[in-house]
Each structure stands twice: as C-alpha cells, then as structure tokens.
C-alpha cells in the first residue's frame, strides 16, 4: 500500500454512530424491535407500526411483563397506549388520531418513544423495575405507594349506581385484608430470621455474611438456579447496552430532530378533542385547595415562630440583623436546591428503593447502611403524624355532620360509645 492514512475522524464512524446508538437502545429496552424498525418508522412505513405499539405498551404499563397483558390484542394495546400517553401529557394530537387497529403512524410512535426517553431515565427505570432480586428486600419508606395511581389496568368496566352500604362493605373488606396481610408478614419475618441465621458464614461477600432466600433457593433447586443465572446474565447484557446507549445517545437526538422536521406541522385550530374524564379537573381543584390550606397553615406557624424567636433573641442590634440575613441566605439556598432537585425528578424516580436485609450483630455506627432501629424510629414518627392527620380529618367531618344534622331539629344523635 503506497498511501498513508492520516488519523482523522473517519466519516464511516459517524455513519456507524447512529445505527449503533439505536442498536444499543434496542438491546436495553425490553421487547424492543430491531434497529431496522426504527429506521422504517422515520419513513412512516406501516410494517413498523405494530412493533412500536407493542413496545410503547410494554414500556408504559406499570405492571411487569405479564402474560395476560402481553396477550392483549394489538387494538386494545394501542388504545391503552393512547390514553396512557395522554395522561402523561403527551403534547401531540396526531397520536390520538391514529387508528386503533395499529398499522399506521410509525413515525408518530417513534416521536412518542423519543418523548418518553427525553423526559426521564426510561431505560434505567425499566431495568430497575425488572431487576433480578438477589437479596431479601424490604422497602423502608412507602413513597412508592404514594406514587400516582396512573391508569386503571386495562379491562376495568364502569360501575352503575351503588348503595352506600356497598361502600361500607368494601371498607370492611379492606380492613380484613390488611389484618391478614399483617399476620402473614409477621410469619415471613420469623422465617427470614431463621434462614439468615442458619446460613451464616456462607456468603462469599463478607459484608453480607449470610445467604438470602433467593440464593438459598438456587442451591436447593439447581434448575431454578440455572434460570436465575440466565435472568441475571440477560440483565447484565441489558445493563451494558444501557451504558452504551448513554454514551452514544447524542447522535440519536440529532436524528430525532430530523424525524420531527419530517412531520407535517400540526394545524392549530381547536378541533374537537376527546373528552377528558372529569375527575382530573375535580382532583386538581381539590389539590389546589389543599395546597392553599397548607400554605395558610405554614404562614401562621411561621409567623408565630418568628415572633417567638424575635422576643427570645431580644432586640434589634446589627448582630441580630446580620444573623437574620445569614439565615435568609441559607434558606434561599435550600429552596433553590429543592427546586432544582424537583425539576430534575422528571421521570418516575425511585429515590429510595427497597433495601437488602442483612442479619448482623455488628454495631458499627454510621456508614451508608440503615439500621432497623433507626428505620423503626423514623416510621414511628410518620405513624404518629398520619394518625394525627386522620384524627383531624375525622374531627372535621364530625363537626360538619353535626352542623348539617343540627339544621334538622327533632333529632337526637347518640354517638357510639368511645372505647
């Protein structure tokens, strides 16, 4: 060879970058179509649409990949995807107008997927959802339980009018379920305690010390163990793909810009929109009132504290003013940090996932690990607060009902005996 090649950014690399990025995305997402499908979607090819509907369904459904859900007809999945995206605030109307039977709109679906990817750490969230649990895990806080209820599972029918007794019956049923749950939970803890003690010293990882139930189970049942290992290896492959995706994704976004440009601009006249279920408006109003009430409460409490502080600190001198300024600066900083972290928290974050249980006598203080005693203490505080809130709400109701009943003379209300 006579010619010497100079090392310069090879255009072939740039040409490869996009397919490799898309390939990484395809490898990390669950049930993702081939990279070729993504390319076809840009050109709105009909054969690309069904795969993208299915992908969106898989990605948006809150439950893990379920046999029953996965076998829903494409049409049903498409409808569900549309309402799920709508409830997340997807801005484009073109999606809603796509036919349900699922053979059109590949480009719009690609845009929808990109929209989801841009809003939050979607691959990571999906990986966390399906993460292979190797330890015995217990969530410490119930923040996930507070997460938005999202859409009802596909296949829920509307109810007619019910009597209030039905509501009472459902409440009773709920109470019973909780009681059973608590009893079962106690037994499970006892069993875990035993398993952890019996396998002490077995784990190669000294910081863990003993085996967990999944680990012991894989020893008891080698076939199950083999399956667990396969799942673990699959997850590892998806994790590597996710890392690669993160490294390469810039070129994907540049490409998506071109996809968006390829779409015809949406017409803006206010055409008829599918009716949004009303509860959202009602709930938002409720929320607004609640926030206002909280703000009022906070303002009162802050006033009281400020006055008390001023009285205790005494007087006004320059020292006092300087301290006050310093405090205001600190508070402003805290608020700014809070706002930043809230803004970052766009996707459905899981800040405090479940933790792996480890039985140990060691009393090393500090460190990143949480001790059961500390967690219990914090939970007790939360319990007390919730009980107080519930009591307060019930008291509010009692007053209101008494007022309403009082408007009706000639009745005696005998409250139930207090225990």
């Amino acid at each position: 060879m006579g010619r010497r090649r100079r090392r310069r950014p090879d255009p072939a690399d740039a040409a490869r970058a996009l397919p490799e990025a898309i390939a990484a995305l395809s490898r990390t997402l669950p049930a993702a179509p081939s990279p070729e499908t993504f390319r076809r979607a840009k050109f709105d090819r009909p054969e690309a649409a069904p795969a993208l509907w299915r992908l969106l369904f898989r990605v948006l459904s809150p439950l893990p990949a379920d046999g029953a859900l996965a076998s829903l007809a494409l049409e049903a999945q498409a409808r569900w995807v549309k309402s799920a995206l709508r409830s997340q605030g997807y801005p484009r109307r073109a999606l809603v107008q796509l036919p349900d039977e699922g053979s059109q709109g590949a480009r719009e679906l690609l845009l929808a997927l990109a929209w989801l990817l841009a809003r939050g750490p979607l691959p990571e969230r999906l990986l966390t959802q399906s993460h292979v649990r190797l330890g015995d895990e217990m969530p410490v806080c119930e923040c996930e339980a507070l997460a938005s209820p999202g859409l009802p599972a596909p296949g829920v029918e509307a109810e007619g009018c019910v009597d209030i007794r039905h509501v009472q019956w459902l409440t009773g049923k709920l109470r019973l379920r909780w009681r059973n749950l608590m009893a079962g939970q106690q037994e499970q803890c006892a069993l875990l305690g035993k398993i952890h003690s019996y396998t002490r010293g077995c784990h190669s990882d000294r910081s863990l010390g003993h085996l967990s139930v999944p680990e012991t189970e894989l020893l008891r049942d080698p076939e199950g163990g083999r399956q667990l290992l396969q799942l673990l290896e699959k997850e590892n492959a998806r994790l590597e793909a996710a890392l690669e995706w993160r490294r390469r994704e810039l070129v994907f976004w540049q490409w998506m810009d071109t996809v968006l440009d390829a779409c015809s601009p949406e017409d803006s006249p206010p055409t008829f929109l599918p009716r949004i279920p009303e509860p959202e408006a009602g709930v938002a109003g409720l929320l607004a009132r609640e926030l206002q009430a909280l703000q009022e409460e906070l303002r009162e409490a802050a006033e009281a504290r400020r006055a008390a502080w001023q009285a205790a600190a005494g007087g006004h001198g320059p020292e006092w003013r300087a301290a006050r300024r310093a405090l205001q600066a600190a508070v402003a900083q805290d608020l700014a940090a809070l706002q930043r972290s809230w803004e970052q928290d766009q996707g459905r974050a899981r800040p405090h996932g479940p933790r792996r249980l480890v039985r140990t006598e060691a009393r090393a203080p500090g460190g990143p690990d949480l001790r059961a005693a500390e967690a219990t203490e914090a939970l007790r505080a939360r319990e007390a607060c919730l009980e107080a809130v519930l009591c307060q709400l019930q008291g509010q109701c009692r007053q209101e009902l008494a007022r309403l009943a009082g408007a009706r003379p000639g009745l005696i209300w005998v409250p139930p005996p207090t225990r």
Partner: protein, 403 residues
C-alpha cells in the same frame, strides 16, 4: 342510592385500595411458600428410583451425559473416588451384617463412576442439560462444594440404602458416622435428608453465579454514577441534556393541544408532594412545640431521617438494612405496613369527604333516605367505618297519634 358518578369514583378508589392490598398479599404468600419450603427437609432435585444395582442409577444420571464435565468436575470426581475408596476401607472395618450387601455395589459403583466420567455423582450434576444449550452454566451444578479448610472433609452426603425409610430424625443420630462415609449417588438409594438448620452453614454459592452477581453490581454502579453525572465526559452529557430539552420544546410547540392542562401523572405527583409536605409540616410543628428556642436559631431535635429527601436516584443501588433480631425485624415490618395502611386511610378519608359531604349538603334533609345517608356517612367518615351512631326521633308528645 348514590348518584352514578359518585358511585363510580368511590368504588374505583376502594377497588384500587383492595387491589393493592391483594397484590401485597399475593407477593407475601409467594415468599411464604418459598421460605417454608426452604426450612423443611430439602427434596433432592432428582430422586433416583431405589434400586440396588448401580446401572439404572447411572442411567438416571445419564441426562447429564450430554453435558461435558468441566476440569473442576473431573478433579472433584477424582477426589470423590479416592474418598470413596477410603470409605470402603473404613466401612469394611465397621460393617454390620445389613450393610455388607452394600459393599459390592459400592465397589461396582465406584468402578463405574471412575470409568464413566460422564456420570458424575451428586455433587456435580448437570441438571440443566435436558435442553440443548450453547453454554451450560457449570457453576450451578455444585451446590455442595466441600469446604476445603475443614480437615474432616465434610462433604454433604447421600445416605445409604440401609437407612432408607427412616426419617430425618434417624439421620441426625447417624450424622457423626455418616460424615466419615462418602457414598456416591449411583450406588445408594435415598439421599440423606438435608435441613437448613443442621447443615445450612456448609452451603456455598456456585462460581458462575458469584461472577454474574458481582458483574451485575459493577454494572449498576457504573450506570448509577453516569446518572448522577459523575461521568468523565461532562461536555457530552451537557450536550445530550440540551439536545433532549430542545427536542421536548419542539414537540410542545409543534403540538395542537393546549399545554397548560395538568396531566393525570402530574396531578399524581402533586398529590404525592402535598402529602409529603403535610407530613413534614406536622413533624416540624410538633417538634417545635417541644423545643425551646435556644440562641439565635433553634436546632431541631436530631431526628432519625428516613432516606426520603428529594434526592432523585432513579437507579437501584445496593443499600443494606441491618437488623439484629427477629423481633426487631418484625417490629419494623409491622410498622411499615401500618404506615402504608394509615396512608391509604387518609387518602380514602379525603376521597369520601369529597364525595359524601357535598351530597349531604345539597340534599334537603327531609326524609329517611337523608338520615340513612347521614348516619352511614358518619360511620364511614368519623369512625373509620367501624361504629354507628344511633339517631332518635324526638317527637313531641302531642304529635303522637292515638293508638
């Protein structure tokens, strides 16, 4: 009867609550099943038919022949064979009448295992080999690897046929004797019962699994650090973030829908924020009541904070929860469930208030239906659905109709 929309919303909320409870119950029951089974006597994954001749046993092990033994398998096999021969010698010394018959089968068993390298004994079984695999995960076959540091090489054992039919209790008394005897699966009938309680400490995780698990942890750590922006390539990260924001903005402006409507997801997040805020306020205010303002800025009492900041770490990270006794664990678990239940109750209370109070306010308090509704509402709203109050009509005497 309640109006249709109201009914729908109430029933939907209660159904949600019931469903989430049912889901927890389902998961709990699954865990209970697994845990109970682990604490019982372990059934061997393959129970060979109890026959004295080694041939059929080896054939039962034959599925494993599809799987080529690893060097580790072979080494262990060799060790086992040596141990077997020693055991035969020991047994000859101790043999009772009933066990004499086993010795020839032992011999033939050991001979055949020595020659048939493809039929490894129980300590290395290729269980997964029925389905053709490109990469048989070898590590998983070695559930009971000898603890190399123990002098009296305590391999987990399979029992011999003489003790067939005796329960786990008998195994315990023979345990001391058995430890010195090593009998291959091929020659024996019923494997010795294994209980976690007695022999749990001998277990070791297979190599392949350990490797995969540590790789898994490493990958998660890498992904997590990339999330929090620790990555070396900050410039690329910023460029990507900008590109994403621009894309979202373009999507929004290209839209035909008014962007100001709150989506359900956003409403949900706001509700969550509201609840957390309310709780936090209560904590602060109740703490402040107790606290005396000292100095220029009263320090809040050092509270055990749950790791619920606002720190968004959406990626799983291997954090531990340390406990020291079963009692401690039970208390924690019970409390966690109680908090979840209370949280649900507060939410339902608000929903009920929002639905029922307006109804009662609107309706004319005329007849029985209103009274019944009021009484039921009182029960639900004020007594958690558990106690009813009594309503008495206080008719003036002159209104009573004569009998």
């Amino acid at each position: 009867m309640l109006p249709a929309e109201c009914s729908r919303r109430l029933v939907a909320e209660l159904r949600d609550a019931l469903d989430s409870c049912a889901e927890r119950q389902r998961q709990l029951e699954q865990s209970l099943r697994v845990s109970r089974r682990l604490l019982r006597v372990w059934e061997p994954a393959e129970t060979p038919a109890p026959e004295p001749t080694p041939g059929p046993e080896i054939n039962e092990e034959a599925p494993s022949s599809a799987c080529p033994p690893s060097p580790q398998d072979l080494k262990e096999l060799e060790l086992l064979t040596q141990a077997l021969e020693k055991a035969v010698r020991v047994r000859k010394g101790l043999s009772k009448a009933g066990e004499g018959v086993k010795v020839p089968s032992l011999k033939s068993g050991s001979a055949s295992t020595a020659t048939k390298a493809s039929a490894p004994p129980s300590t290395s079984r290729c269980t997964g080999s029925r389905a053709p695999e490109t990469k048989p995960p070898r590590g998983v076959h070695h559930p009971w690897v000898p603890a190399k540091d123990l002098p009296g090489r305590r391999l987990l054992l399979v029992g011999d046929g003489a003790h067939m039919g005796q329960g786990a209790g008998a195994n315990k008394t023979e345990a001391g004797l058995r430890d010195q005897q090593i009998v291959p699966q091929a020659a024996s009938q019923v494997p010795e019962a294994f209980t976690l309680k007695d022999k749990g400490a001998l277990l070791r995780l297979p190599e392949a699994f350990r490797k995969a698990a540590s790789r898994n942890a490493r990958l998660w750590a890498q992904l997590s650090s990339m999330q929090t922006g620790d990555s070396a390539d900050a410039a690329a990260a910023t460029a990507t973030a900008t590109a994403k924001t621009q894309f979202l903005q373009k999507m929004q402006t290209a839209a035909g829908l008014p962007g100001s409507m709150l989506s359900t997801a956003e409403v949900g997040r706001l509700q969550k924020a509201c609840s957390m805020l309310r709780l936090r306020m209560r904590e602060e205010l109740t703490a402040a009541v107790v606290e005396q303002p000292q100095g220029l800025w009263p320090e809040g009492p050092p509270r055990a904070a749950l790791p619920c900041g606002g720190g968004a770490d959406p990626v799983w990270s291997p954090q531990l929860l340390l406990y020291s006794s079963t009692q401690e664990l039970q208390t924690l678990a019970a409390l966690r469930l109680r908090v979840a239940m209370l949280d649900q109750q507060v939410h339902l209370e608000k929903v009920l208030m929002a639905e029922l109070l307006p109804l009662l306010r609107e309706q004319e308090p005329l007849g029985r239906p209103w009274l019944a509704l009021c009484r039921a509402a009182h029960c639900l709203l004020c007594e958690g659905g558990q106690h009813f109050l009594t309503v008495l009509q206080d008719e003036p005497a002159d209104r009573l109709s004569p009998p």
